[in-house]
Symmetry: C2
Subunit: 364 residues, 2 copies
């Protein structure tokens, strides 16, 4: 199967595949965007042309996720990692405790960053099973009156996912970096959602924050400017120069998602993609072993192992020769990982599933 522009099937965990139509539009406007006489990379962020791009991008994200009016949208820098510090720096005060649900490497990183700032209670840690399982968030024991409860919807390294919006009594803070826009979300269940763009939204270097008004108001006095959500909201993400190009590309992706039918359509595609690979794992009679327990399986990152490191290396090498790229798993799980975000073509998963079947038959 030939891909447009001789592209490969790119299974990278992020940055990752973007929609071909978005890339074509980015290419076509590179020297002179829409008659403006300049590239989007060259536009003043304070000018009317870029302002139009920015506000359309924001409005489309609001529409896609159904973000209520009492939430603000920010486009920041620093990635989810920076949010891991910015959140407790604003909302974890002395004498308070923040609860962290650790269902994988990213939840762990968030928790570690918060520990440098204040008291942390670990409400769940899936370490014993090497993070192959996610908890039922509504049944966990939380501390009394926590400042907030933090969890990570999708763990890219381990391939487990919490794909529901919990009803909890404390403010819910959520890292949705790797599955945002892959299903409809009930935003009202959350106080703050953050997501690095480089999985389902655009290039690396943009972080989306969706923050409820009461949290904006709660920023402490004399906060450092670049860590001050209130300042960011007051300046509509332009206290300083934003990552203009990245936001523009996110906007192209949002338009593509809308054209595909929105988040319900994205969710169906994600289930179709991941099912093809999970079924290939199951049909292999043990040649491939899935890392995540079935009920915790991610529809964004499929993790599986083979019988030996040699076999894994051979698999990855032969897959690459078939233009199936980026399948090496993270060292903490080993084996393989197929990251299949929104823009990943379904046919690429069929090609991988066929390859897996052939490879198992030849090497089983």
């Amino acid at each position: 199967m030939s891909q447009p522009y001789s592209r490969v099937f790119n299974f990278s965990a992020g940055p990752c595949t973007l929609p071909v139509s978005a890339l074509e539009e980015a290419r076509d406007g590179m020297l002179n965007w829409n008659g403006s006489g300049m590239s989007v990379m060259e536009m003043s962020h304070r000018g009317k042309v870029y302002e139009g791009i920015f506000s359309e991008t924001e409005a489309n994200l609001r529409k896609l996720l159904g973000i209520p009016e009492n939430y603000k949208i920010l486009f920041l820098q620093g990635g989810a990692s920076f949010q891991n510090t910015m959140i407790p720096m604003n909302y974890l005060r002395e004498g308070q405790t923040a609860d962290y649900v650790v269902s994988g490497a990213w939840g762990k990183k968030s928790q570690e960053a918060a520990k440098l700032i204040g008291n942390v209670h670990t409400a769940f840690d899936g370490k014993a099973g090497n993070y192959n399982d996610v908890p039922d968030l509504e049944s966990l024991q939380y501390s009394d009156d926590p400042a907030y409860i933090h969890f990570t919807t999708n763990e890219t390294i381990h391939g487990v996912e919490i794909a529901s919006d919990p009803s909890l009594k404390a403010p819910v803070v959520c890292d949705m970096s790797s599955d945002i826009l892959s299903r409809p979300v009930d935003i009202s269940k959350y106080a703050l959602i953050y997501a690095g763009a480089q999985k389902n939204m655009g290039p690396a270097g943009v972080t989306v924050v969706i923050i409820r008004d009461d949290l904006v108001a709660k920023v402490p006095e004399k906060q450092h400017p670049m860590m001050d959500y209130k300042l960011m909201v007051e300046n509509d993400s332009m206290y300083n120069t934003p990552p203009c190009w990245g936001i523009y590309v996110c906007g192209l992706v949002y338009k593509w998602v809308i054209a595909q039918g929105g988040l319900a359509a994205m969710n169906k595609l994600a289930k179709d993609r991941s099912s093809l690979i999970y079924e290939a794992v199951e049909a292999s009679g043990g040649f491939y072993k899935g890392h995540a327990l079935p009920a915790s399986r991610s529809i964004m990152n499929v993790t599986f192992t083979l019988g030996s490191d040699e076999l894994t290396d051979k698999f990855i090498k032969e897959a690459k020769a078939e233009k199936l790229d980026g399948l090496k798993g993270h060292r903490s799980v080993g084996g393989c990982r197929a990251s299949i975000y929104n823009a990943f073509p379904v046919e690429g998963c069929q090609v991988l599933a066929n390859f897996m079947e052939d490879f198992a038959a030849k090497n089983g």
Copy 2:
């Protein structure tokens, strides 16, 4: 004079004009970079292909600026504004004082951010002359044994520039956002240099930090990860996902600068560009008034005023009709500002100078 691709002459203060050849290369690789089968925006930052782009970019910057081996180069997020907090958070301890030279709006912003963290001594503040003047850094009175001395080489809003490398007894920390790569620099005079990319280097969303090894070693224990220079150095700017695309475009710009003859050539071009406009100001017999005093004039941002707001508006409107874009000055100076960074074509300054002469003749 017709520009390629019907582009305008873009006098924006940043983001701003990039080299046409860099934009063409960015465009041409958009769907499939160099046979990799993917866009640079889609590449894993941990993969060999991107690693090659990153290390070539870093090496070219080191070569261009002649950065000695005892300095590390970082490509971070957050802009110069984030550095304004990160620097004192790492190097301004209790009981210490940091000295700030305030020669414009950006120096002021740096100083304000530091005041939230520790003791600050203002070694110079050009406020009385509305920042039309820069001091001789080697003659200023500094505090005893300051943690560091901070200054801003070029003030984009006021159009004044300190274009020399001072010999000072304390560690020198410098914001070079808006004139980096416009002249050869003696890096050894500095402890830490930082610069947002969106003037002379590339798109917004990348911040270059050049940091001497002894400062890397001095990062306090238990620093927040995203504010920890040591962690950033240890991870070669990839503690988390870097702004990959922006770094790639910086690399294209570095290659262009090298092809033009390096920093001496950039300096000559900058002087040629700015002279054309300063001469038009002076030849106008007072119709245009330069804001900066002659000895403090920036070769990157030329600020000048006209006799009234009405005349200014008319000038900007008629200039825009001639494809001379982005000439409106900042409200704190008023009038006009021509930002003419490295990639700005010299002929655009000639066109502006001619326009200024005509406009003065018609409206004087």
